[in-house]
Amino acid sequence: MKTVTLTIDGRKVTLAKGSTVLDAIRAAGVYVPTLCNDDDLKPYGACRLCIVQIEGMRGLPTSCTTPANDGMVVHTETEEIRRIRRIIIELAIANHPSDCLVCDKSQMCELLNVARYVGVSADSAQRMRRGTLDLPVDSSNPAFDFDPNKCILCGKCVRICDEITGTCAIDFAYRGTKTLVSTFGAGPLALSACRKCGECVERCPTGALMPKHVMLPQREVETICPYCGVGCSIFLGVRNGSIVRARASNKNGINQEGLCVKGRYGLDFVGHPDRLTHPLIRKEGVPRGVGKGDPAKAFREASWDEALDYVAQKLGGIRERNGADAIGIVSSAKCTNEENYVLQKFARAAIGTNNVDHCARLCHASTVSAALAAFGSGAMSNSISDIDHADVLFVIGSNTTECHPIIGRRIKRAVKFHGAKLIVGDPRSIELCDMAAVHLNHFPGTDVALLNAMMREIIRQNLHDKKFIAERCEDFEPFRKSLERYTLESVSQVTGVDEEKIRHAAELFGKAKRGIVLYGMGITQHTTGTDNVKAVANLLMLTGNLGRRGTGFAPLRGQNNVQGSCDMGALPNVFPGYQATENLQARAKFEQAWGRKLSARPGLTLTEMFQAAHDGRLKAMYVMGENPMLSEPDAEHAKEALAMLEFLAVQDVFLTQTAQMADVVLPAASFAEKDGTFTNTERRVQLVRKAIDPPGEARTDWEITASISARLGYPMNYNSSSEIMEEIAKLTPIYGGIHHDRLEKGGLQWPCKSRKERGASILHKDQFTRGRGKFHVVHDIPPAELPSRSYPFVLTTGRILEHWHTGSMSHRSRVLEALASESSVEINPADASELGIEQGDLVSISSRRGKVETKARKTRRVNPGQAFMAFHWWDAPANLLTNPALDPVAKIPEFKVSSVRAILAVLERAAEDNAFLTALAENPAGALNAYDLTPEHRAALASGDVEALEKWVGPLEDRLKTWLKLRLKREKISEG
C-alpha cells in the first residue's frame, strides 16, 4: 500500500494514500472540530469548521476535503483559525434553541461539544440578538422526530439517505437561511419514501433528528440482530435490566454503516409484557384449539419441575407405546447453533428419531437439495461484501430492500456508486426495479423457463465460459441440448416477458466479468423449487461466475440463524455439518460420541410431520421457537393436525398461536438473554451475547431441552453454550475451527476446519465441494395450482420491511407495529376497478383452502391478475390461503403461487344469504333475465335505484349501495 507522511503540528504521521488531511490529523491524535464530516460519506466541506493552515497553500483549506499529500506541513490551530471557528459557531447557533438541559441529545450532541471547544460564551451567543425560529416539528412517524429548529444543515442526513441507504427520501428544500431538510413535496416523514431505518438519526450531530423515546444506556453489549439472515452486528444498550437502544457495530464487515428499521427500533419485544415468565400447563378439561377470549386463561402456571416432568412423562410414554418415530421435534432458526445442536441431539439420541426439522423446510430446503447436487454445498458461495465487486447483479425472487434491507442497500450502492448493472426478475415491481437495467416481470412459477431462455441465448451468442465449463463442470452436453426448446419466442409467451428484455438480460449477464445471482423465496418456494435453484446453478456455471471475488451463488437466507440450524443438523436426513444419517461412518462417529444407537432412516420433514399428525401417525410434537400455525401452508389444515396430536409441547418466548394449542408451554429466553452463536446467510458464525436476564423464570432453550433429556434418562451435562460449541467443533468438520473465543472479532465464515484456519469467504475456489460442478437438465413445469374461473387471481406471499415472519416479535415492537399495523392485499388498480374495489376497502380473499378479510391496497407494483399478501398478520393469515403442494425433492410448499378470488367483503357477507344479490353481483344482466322481475323492479334496477332494491332484499350497507350503483352503471343497465 502506498503511504504518505505529513507533519501535523510538528508531529509526523504516516498513513495510506488517498486519505484526507483530516484523517491525518486524527491519526496524529489531534482534535479538530467538525460537524459535516462523516467517515462513511463523501467529503462535503460545508460547515467549514475543520479549516487548517497548510504551508504553501493559500487561505485556510478545509481538512476534510483536502487530500493528504506527502510532505504537507499542517497547523491545526492558529489564532486566526480559532477566531473563525468561533464566529462560525456563533453564527450557526444564533437562532438555535438553548434548552440544552432538557434536550434529549445533550450528552451526545456534537454541536454542543464543538461549541464548548471553540469557546462560545453566553455573551457571544447573544451577540446577534437571537431571533426564535418556530418551525413545526415533524413527529409524524413512530420511530423518530425531526425538529428543524435544531437543525444546523450539516447535510449528513440528506447524504446518508442517498449515499448509504440509497433511499433518497429527504433533501434540502428552499435556499439560504431558509434552507430546510425536507421530504419530497414537504409532506410528513411518515408519508414519505423514508424507510425509518434511523440511520440519519444515528448520525445527526444535533437534537434535530431524535428517536421518540430516548434513554441512555448504562452499558452496551455487542451481539447479533435476531431478525433476518443478514446477521447485522449490534450494540444493545442496557439500562436497569432492559434494552433501551440498539446501534450498529462495525466489526463483521456486513453492516458497518448501520441497521434497518427492525434491527434499530424493533427489539423492544424483548421487554414486552406478553413475555412468558412461567411454565404453563393446560387446565384440566380445557380442549385444545384457539378459543375465544384470553388464550392464557386455558393454562395454569406450573413449576419448572412439574412442567418438565410432565413433558418427559408424556414423551416417554408415547415413545414406549408408539415408538420413537411417533414423536416429531421442531427446531428453530431463531435459536442459537448450540440450541439447535442440543435439540437435534435430543431427538436423535434421547428420543431416538430423525424426525427433526425446522422452518428452513419452508424457505430454503430447495436451495439445500439443489445446490448440494450441483456444487456439493447448499450455502451462499461468496460473501455479502462481494456485491461491491460485481459488475452485474441478478436479483431474482427476492425483494431484497424489504426482506434483507442491509444487503438491499449494498445492491443499491453497487448500482449507484460502483456502476454495477442490475437485472431484477420478479413478478412484482419491487423497489429495486427503479434502478434496474432490466426488469423481467415473469408470471409466478415460470422461473425455469425464463432462466433456460436466458441460458439458451447466452450460448447462442457464444457468451458462455467454455474454459470454466470444460475444466470445472460435468454433464454440460445433455444440459445444452435440453435448452433447445426454450426459444425467446416461446418463453416470452410462457413468462409474459418481452423477448427483447430476456435477450438484454441474457447479454448483460453473459458479458459480466463478475456476476452474482441473488435470490430469495421467489425461487425456492415452488413445487419446482429444486429445479429453480438448479437452473440458477446452471446459469452461474455456464457463465463461470463462481469461485472468484465478486461472483457467486447467493441464496438469501431468511431467518437470523436458518443457516446455522441447517448446519447443526436440525434436518431429518443429516447430522451436524451435513453428514448423512444414512452414512455408516458418520453414524458410527455420532453413536460413539453420543453413546446411543442412532437411527439411519431419514425422519419426517416439517411438512410431512403435519401430514403424519393429521393421519394419526405422529402422536406428539415438541416445538422449539417456531409458529407453524401461521407459517405452514394451508394453516387450517395445520391447525387440525396440531389439534389431533396426543401431546404438544411448545417452548417459546410468547404464547404464539401454536403455543396456544399446546399442552405444556415452556418459557424460553430471548436472543438478548443468552450466549451462543448465530450463522448468517454468508456462513458467518457470530457471537450472541447475553445482555440481560430472562424475565421471570424463563430459561434458555438448551437448558430446557437438556432438563427434559435428563428426565428421559439421557443427561446432557453442559455448563455453557461455549462448551456445546466445543462438542460441535469436534464432530462437525466444517465447524472444526469454530470456538467462541475465536469469534470476538466479527466471527468466522465456515468451512473453518481447525484453529489454524481463518474461515472461507469464497467457496468452490479451485474446485467445487463435490469435485466438479454438475449441470442438471431442468424443464418448465407449471405451478400446482393455476388460475381458474372461480379463483382467477394468482396470489404470491412474502414479507414487508416492518414485520417479521409470523410477527410474534415484530407485532410486539412499538415502532414496527405502529409503522405497519394493518394487513393488506396488494392488487392492481385495473383489477380493483373491475371489481369495484377502492383503496382501503375490506376485501375477502379466498382460495380452495380458506378465506381471510383484509384491506385492499391498489398498486401497480403487482401486475393485473396477481395479488400479493404478506404472511405476518394474525387477523388475516395469508397461509390460510396458500397451497400445501410440495416440491417432490425438497418438500418445500408452494407458498408463492395459489389461486384466489377477491370480493368486496360487505358484498360477500350480504350475498351469503341472498341468491339474487349474488347473481346480481356476478352478472347483472343475467340476473335480470334469470329472475322473474316485475317491470317495476326492472325499472328500479335499470335506473340504479338501490333504495328500491332495499325494499325487497332488506337494508344494505352504505358501501354496498355505492358498489351496486357503480356496478349497475358499468353494466349499462341503469342507462336503458
Partner: protein, 431 residues
C-alpha cells in the same frame, strides 16, 4: 471607437440570420472550418489574451488549455448567460441584438476544444432572449451552421438553451453545471474543476456570453487587432453597464480601460438634478464600493483590482449624495442573504445575520457594537466558503461600512435614518 460587439445593435431585424449574414455573421466560422485547425483557433484566442467577461477575468485561452483532452471523454461547452448580478445587463443586449455572434462564437469554441455540444444556461427571467436565441439556433441549423457535418467540414455540433429557475447562485460555474445536470444548483467543492469534471462529470469549459462573443472577431481579425484595444493584459472591446443615478443609463461599448469617471460623466451624461456623486459599485453588486474621490481609475481587470475593487461584470451602479449608504448596504446584504444557496455555514448564516444587523441599524434600532459585529462577520466569512458568493457579499458590504462608517454611526447614535429613508425595495427576509 467602432462598435464591435454592439455593431448590429441599431440594425433592424439584426437577429434574423439573413440580415446578420449580410452584416458579416458566420464569416469567421467559414474561415475556421476551411482554413484553421482547432489548435490554430486556440492559439489565436490564447494570443489575444481574451480575459473572461463573466467576472473573474481568467484568460479563456488558458481555460481551454486546461481542459482534459482525453479522447475517450466527452467534452462540453457551456455558455454562462445567467446574468443575475445586480447592475449587469450586457449579455442580454448581445443575445437580443446579435444572437448569431454568440452562436458563432460557441461553434468556434466547440471546434477549438473538441466539443460537440454547447449549452446556453439562460437567466430564467430573460424570456425575450430565450425566444430570440431559440429562433436563431433553429435558423443556424437550417443554414447548416449547426448539426452534423457543419458546412461540409465533417464537424458536428449542437447548441441547446436551458432556462434557469431564478437563482443567482446558478451563475456560479459549478452550481450551473449541477443545475444543468438536473441536480440542485449548489456549487461543488473545488477541485476538481470543470475542466476535468464538469457537466455530466465530463470535461467542460464555461464561458460568459460576452467572452464567447469576442471569439469570432478574434479569429476573423486576429489577435493583434484585439490587442490594439486596452492596455497590457487587459485587451479588447468591453461592454459597460451604467445604472443608478446617471442621466443616460445603458450599455456602452468602449475599449477596455476606459476610466470610470469618463464612463459616468461622458457616456452616462453625469449625475442628474445637479447632485453630486457619492459612491459607485463599479463591477456589479459584488465589487467593493469606490467613493467619488476614487473614480478616476481605468476600468480594466488589473487597475480595478489595484484600486481595491474589481472589474467584475462591469455593472456600474452609481449613487448620488441623496443615497443613504446604510440603506444601500442593507439592500446589497439582503440580496446575498436571499441568494446564498445555504450550503456553507459561514455564508448561509453570515449573509443572513449581516443583513439583519444592517436592517436594525437602518431602522434606527442599532446598538453600539453592531457595526463592528457586522464587520467581524464579514472578515470571518471572506475566503471561508465553497464558492465566491460569500466573498461577493463581503466586498461591497465591508467597503461601504468602512468608507462610510460615520453614516452608520450616526444611524446608531440618532436611532433613526438621517435620510428619512422610507424606501423598502423588497422584503424577502425577516427584517
Amino acid at each position: 471607437m467602432e462598435p464591435v460587439l454592439l455593431a448590429k445593435r441599431h440594425i433592424e431585424n439584426s437577429t434574423d440570420i439573413n440580415i446578420a449574414i449580410g452584416e458579416g455573421a458566420y464569416k469567421a466560422l467559414q474561415k475556421v472550418l476551411t482554413a484553421m485547425s482547432p489548435p490554430q483557433v486556440h492559439k489565436e484566442v490564447m494570443d489575444a489574451v481574451l480575459r473572461g467577461r463573466g467576472g473573474a477575468g481568467f484568460p479563456a485561452g488558458l481555460k481551454w488549455k486546461f481542459l482534459d483532452k482525453n479522447p475517450k471523454r466527452t467534452r462540453y461547452l457551456c455558455c454562462n448567460a445567467d446574468e443575475s448580478e445586480p447592475g449587469t445587463f450586457k449579455d442580454r443586449v448581445i443575445m437580443e441584438t446579435d444572437p448569431h455572434m454568440l452562436i458563432e462564437g460557441m461553434i468556434i469554441a466547440c471546434y477549438a476544444i473538441d466539443a460537440h455540444a454547447g449549452y446556453i444556461f439562460l437567466r430564467g427571467e430573460y424570456a425575450n432572449s430565450f425566444r430570440i436565441l431559440t429562433k436563431a439556433i433553429a435558423q443556424a441549423r437550417e443554414h447548416g451552421f449547426l448539426g452534423d457535418n457543419v458546412l461540409g467540414s465533417g464537424f458536428n455540433v449542437n447548441i441547446h438553451v436551458h432556462v434557469g429557475a431564478g437563482a443567482y447562485i446558478c451563475g456560479e460555474e459549478l452550481a450551473m453545471l449541477e443545475s444543468l445536470g438536473g441536480a440542485r444548483g449548489w456549487p461543488r467543492l473545488k477541485p476538481p474543476y470543470a475542466a476535468t469534471r464538469g457537466l455530466f462529470y465530463e470535461p467542460t469549459v464555461v464561458n460568459n456570453v460576452e467572452t464567447l462573443a469576442c471569439v469570432p472577431h478574434i479569429v476573423l481579425r486576429g489577435a493583434d487587432w484585439f490587442k490594439g484595444m486596452g492596455s497590457e493584459n487587459n485587451y479588447g472591446p468591453k461592454l459597460y453597464c451604467l445604472s443608478g443615478h446617471v442621466n443616460k443609463p445603458g450599455v456602452y461599448e468602449l475599449p477596455m480601460g476606459t476610466t470610470l469617471k469618463q464612463l459616468i460623466d461622458q457616456s452616462g451624461g453625469g449625475i442628474p438634478n445637479g447632485r453630486k456623486l457619492k459612491a459607485v459599485l463599479p463591477g456589479g453588486s459584488s465589487s467593493a464600493a469606490l467613493t467619488a474621490e476614487e473614480v478616476d481609475v481605468p476600468m480594466d481587470f488589473d487597475s480595478m483590482s489595484k484600486a481595491g475593487s474589481m472589474l467584475g461584470s462591469a455593472g456600474i451602479i452609481v449613487m448620488d449624495d441623496s443615497t443613504c449608504m446604510v440603506n444601500a448596504c442593507w439592500n446589497v446584504a439582503r440580496f446575498y442573504a436571499h441568494e446564498s444557496c445555504g450550503q456553507c455555514t459561514p455564508c448561509r448564516e453570515g449573509t443572513n445575520w449581516v443583513a439583519r444587523i444592517l436592517g436594525r441599524i437602518e431602522r434606527g434600532q442599532g446598538e453600539p457594537g453592531d457595526i463592528d459585529m457586522a464587520l467581524t462577520i464579514c472578515d470571518n466569512m471572506l475566503g471561508q466558503t465553497i464558492c465566491a458568493l460569500a466573498d461577493g457579499a463581503v466586498f461591497p458590504i465591508r467597503s461601504i461600512i468602512q468608507k462610510f462608517r460615520a453614516e452608520f454611526e450616526r444611524h446608531v447614535r440618532d436611532g433613526a435614518c438621517p435620510f428619512g429613508a422610507k424606501r423598502k425595495w423588497y422584503s424577502v427576509l425577516p427584517e
